[in-house]
Symmetry: C2
Subunit: 255 residues, 2 copies
Amino acid sequence: MCELLGMSANVPTDICFSFAGLMKRGGGTGPHRDGWGIAFYEGKGCRTFHDPHPSCQSEIAQLLRRYPIKSRTVISHIRRANRGQVSLENTHPFTRELWGRVWTFAHNGQLKGIKKRPVSYFQPVGTTDSEHAFCWMMEQIRMRYPDPPRRDAALTALVRDLAEEMGALGVFNLLLSDGRTLWCRCSTNLAWLTRRAPFGAAQLIDEDMTVDFAQETTPDDVVTVIATRPLTRNETWTVMEAGSMVAFRNGERVG
Amino acid sequence: MCELLGMSANVPTDICFSFAGLMKRGGGTGPHRDGWGIAFYEGKGCRTFHDPHPSCQSEIAQLLRRYPIKSRTVISHIRRANRGQVSLENTHPFTRELWGRVWTFAHNGQLKGIKKRPVSYFQPVGTTDSEHAFCWMMEQIRMRYPDPPRRDAALTALVRDLAEEMGALGVFNLLLSDGRTLWCRCSTNLAWLTRRAPFGAAQLIDEDMTVDFAQETTPDDVVTVIATRPLTRNETWTVMEAGSMVAFRNGERVG
């Protein structure tokens, strides 16, 4: 199984602490030796890093641990290959542009028969089920809304329906964002946590590392972290139910 | 003016040497203090790095100088902002997917009235003339060829026509690739050089650095480098004529 990590915050926030825990799972404490990737939104732009090599050895991963890129929306994925060759084009997160927004997608699971679904506007570059599912979802969104819907809730409802349809084909744990909203859909494993004032200390499960967020934040900060499994041992994570979806914007739950 | 750098090779080749020269121009020897970006194709995948900050100070640029990513097709750009805010989404190269291929675009120049041209399939994320021109070109290519044309020459002919149409709007020095072909269109400044056996030593103009390619290559390697201005002082560069375009594939000229 792959590890997913997402963040939604109301101020640009670095994800170094959570990423440190996730990286350990990339060949260190976890079995995810087949590549990793991360997407950081900065304004309307999106910066992605992909590495088909194990994250615990990756030089780029080390850079990111040291170099605190601050972002309000982050999606990351550590891969355990079960479909598709290990290669750059098969490494999540995947990105496409729609409505002048950069969309980012990371998934764990397998989807039976997904490749029979026709895609035209958006076509996979690699050979994964996941990228095909992403292209199919983007195509449905574009067909339903050639222009962005006025109400964000309408978009969330559509994403929920599409995720449900994908979930019927297999395991579909999903992180998806258009740079504004972060949609998180749980098929088997996904948990989230919102940090806000008063901030305390958090201790990673996978590495001997503690951060006192009271030192790192201002009282108005709201930061939600989503991960396949809880990353810290002394905080209360909400473990999502199978088939459920949540949406976050600026760190707050909006759906 | 911005600096462009491209490479087309028949074997995965690192671009560290040329990049070292280009980086010096990013605030060092040149006036290009407004960000830089680079795209490396690896197989069908494409890895991009963008930094809105001056390249001569950038930590990511330093990483890339040390970390020899090997690629057969590279497009890089150092920006001097003249239109659009300095931000991640305005930093070249831009990418879009068409036909399951990642397309990459970098441009220097300004295009009068480009934003009046309608775009629908592909929409700009940022505010530059360049990204709008890219979206417009991609849309023309998609409309003319919903599926990829059988003959590469047909695609090259279309790119040439579109580049000419853009060139009528202003300065349009262009590097464009679909991961197979690298198209290079000169409006004011673009020069190229093909290195092949017997390889010799090359000396950078912008930095006191020499590489003996005989030590770095095998006799079958063919590597073409394209840059705004020649990067080395002891090799013979072909300085392109205004309005001309060349196409490279696997290091060899194909159009």
